[in-house]
């Protein structure tokens, strides 16, 4: 019988991190959990197996002190890194440190850590390039969005993802990158969720691309499987819902109004200025034109992950 794992979860104050911690607490194969929220862990359930240490991971010194302090004392085996900055409106070096430098520090320090043997990173489907001559079904080898014109929200995620991928197989540290589909839930940094917040959803006339969305429950389930598995590599994590954009708008109980593409960016910029919403049309333009659905074959065959928690659509 294998020894129960000790797991460290970053981003413990995000909905995904919180869900993962709750699932790990129910998991008999896990012994101790070190929850690392950005600010506070008051929302986490009290449990003898759970240790909460708020740390700002954008400082490599603090990452070091966390890993070689509390994590070493608890004998952490696996790090589950769920932390990603959630607002597309905020940019700059501080956000980059949070998204990219934290990953780099975690990888570098874990490679020489006495107890950590595996790191599971949550990446994002936004790292993939979408264009008309690329397949609709996105495999792990699909081209990444390396455009210099991409917003920091995208470039940070691509850089963090590639940073992890380039270190795979370099040391004994097992690295798993989970490229998750967009989580359609509040507080997860979902652009689509923010888009669907409005009663009227403007969309480019004449286009109705296929999208795939994930739930927090399925994301947590995928991370849990990756924590316990022994293989490493990149895995796409699709959700149970694959549907056209107009169907998503309808199922969310919203009214979709087609509009000339050129007007959408200024319209949503205005919305953002007036209401403070996070959705940026320019950042999502290609997603609103070209279909892109994550192919979860590898995750299914290797990790045994099958999405089984569909979105609870408000309008049925």
């Amino acid at each position: 019988m294998t020894r129960p794992l000790n797991v460290m979860v970053t981003g413990a104050d995000s909905p995904v991190g919180e869900r993962l911690i709750r699932d790990l607490l129910d998991d008999s194969r896990v012994d101790r959990i070190l929850a690392v929220p950005w600010r506070t862990g008051d929302h986490l359930p009290p449990d003898d197996r759970l240790t909460i240490v708020p740390v700002d991971l954008s400082s490599s010194r603090r990452v070091h002190d966390l890993l070689f302090g509390k994590a070493r004392d608890l004998g952490i085996d696996v790090v589950a890194h769920t932390q990603l900055h959630r607002s597309a409106r905020e940019e700059g070096p501080r956000i980059r440190r949070y998204n990219v430098d934290a990953v780099r520090a975690l990888l570098t320090l874990s490679e020489r850590h006495p107890t950590i043997r595996r790191i599971v990173l949550r990446s994002d489907a936004v790292v993939y390039q979408l264009q008309r001559d690329l397949p609709v079904l996105i495999g792990e080898h699909h081209p990444l969005n390396m455009s210099g014109a991409a917003p920091q929200w995208v470039t940070d995620r691509v850089e963090a993802d590639v940073t992890a991928c380039t270190r795979m197989g370099m040391t004994d540290l097992e690295i798993v990158v989970l490229r998750t589909a967009e989580i359609l839930a509040p507080g997860c940094g979902s652009q689509l969720y923010d888009y669907l917040e409005s009663t009227v959803c403007l969309r480019p006339a004449g286009y109705d691309p296929m999208i795939n969305v994930l739930t927090i429950l399925d994301c947590s389930a995928a991370m849990q499987k990756a924590i316990h598995h022994h293989s490493q590599g990149v895995f796409n994590i699709p959700g149970a819902d694959t549907l056209p954009l107009t169907a998503a708008i309808r199922k969310w109980g919203r009214v979709g109004i087609p509009m000339i593409g050129a007007l959408l960016s200024p319209a949503y910029r205005l919305r953002s200025l007036v209401t403070g919403h996070d959705f940026r049309y320019g950042m999502n333009r290609r997603r609103f034109l070209y279909s892109g659905v994550l192919d979860g074959t590898r995750a299914r065959e290797v990790l045994g992950y099958v999405p089984c928690h569909p979105v609870e659509w408000p309008a049925g």
């Binding site: 008309r132 609709v136 495999g139 699909h142 296929m210 819902d241 056209p244 107009t246 309808r250």
Partner: protein, 282 residues
């Protein structure tokens, strides 16, 4: 789409009889969860498209089809045909022909040039009827899930060719042969006769095509396609997958020879069709 599947379903129910609706309800289809497959095909839109294409197939172009017993009834396969006519009516006629001559009905997944899925309205409408963009990844995924691909290896240059070049095949691209060998499926050749005369063109304009993202726009002699008679001649499957190992899909010489063999088969079917027909409109 500007309207939900329920509207497409209502249109189909209004215009198709019960027997046809029942037949279409057995459509070979991989639902990705909300009634659509991952590429955007939806059975209700297929039924609606059937209404639209049926009239053209039966009344306007009065299609005569032969050799459809060669169309695979199940499992992966690649249908390969010549391409012409300035607008892809040939693809629509083949689409309907396969749909009506397979049981349970199969939707051939037309593999279109990259610009087609990016066209507003048309791209979405075609996707609902089963079309996919011409990327290797799309083709691989569909063949692996046992679908029937419909490929025009001459590509867009052929559909835009001038009237004087009718029934002269453009050199075939080789992707279909490689896919057949690699993914272990037969190639079924099809000769399309009639399409070449449906919409004779004066010229093509690259300039007009630019705003629409298409390589060129044909400027036809007549405003609407002529009611030519279509002849679809299906040939026996070419078992490239039985003659070559999957590894040979990487051998350029083998793939080139295989594509040439398919082109020859299509050429012979076209010539046979031309000899058999009694006139452009008959």
């Amino acid at each position: 789409m500007p309207f939900p599947p329920a509207v497409a379903r209502a249109i189909a129910r209004t215009w198709l009889d019960d027997a046809e609706l029942e037949r279409l309800s057995a459509l070979h289809f991989q639902d990705a969860g909300h009634g659509y497959d991952a590429f955007g095909m939806h059975p209700d839109f297929v039924a609606m498209a059937t209404v639209l294409v049926k009239g053209l197939y039966e009344r306007y172009f009065r299609v005569i089809s032969s050799g459809h017993e060669h169309i695979p009834q199940h499992g992966p396969g690649i249908l390969v045909a010549n391409h012409s006519g300035n607008i892809p009516i040939d693809g629509m006629m083949m689409w309907y022909d396969v749909l009506t001559h397979t049981s349970p009905p199969r939707v051939p997944r037309a593999v279109a040039d990259h610009f087609v899925p990016a066209l507003p309205i048309v791209g979405t409408l075609f996707a609902r009827g089963g079309m996919v963009g011409g990327s290797r990844g799309n083709a691989r995924a569909l063949l692996e899930s046992g679908e029937l691909l419909m490929i025009f290896p001459e590509g867009t240059p052929a559909i835009l060719k001038p009237f004087k070049d009718r029934y002269k095949l453009h050199p075939f691209r080789q992707g279909h042969a490689e896919l057949a060998i690699r993914h272990r499926c037969p190639v079924v050749p099809c000769g399309v006769v009639g399409a070449e005369e449906q919409l004779p063109q004066l010229t093509t304009s690259r300039l007009l095509g630019k705003p629409f993202g298409v390589p060129a726009v044909p400027i036809p002699v007549v405003p609407v396609p002529l009611p030519v008679r279509y002849h679809l001649l299906w040939g026996p499957p070419i078992p490239l997958h039985e003659e070559h190992s999957p590894e040979e899909a990487d051998d350029p010489d083998i793939v080139k020879a295989a594509a040439a063999r398919v082109q020859q088969a299509v050429h012979e079917l076209v010539q046979r069709g031309l000899k058999q027909r009694k006139g452009i409109f008959r």
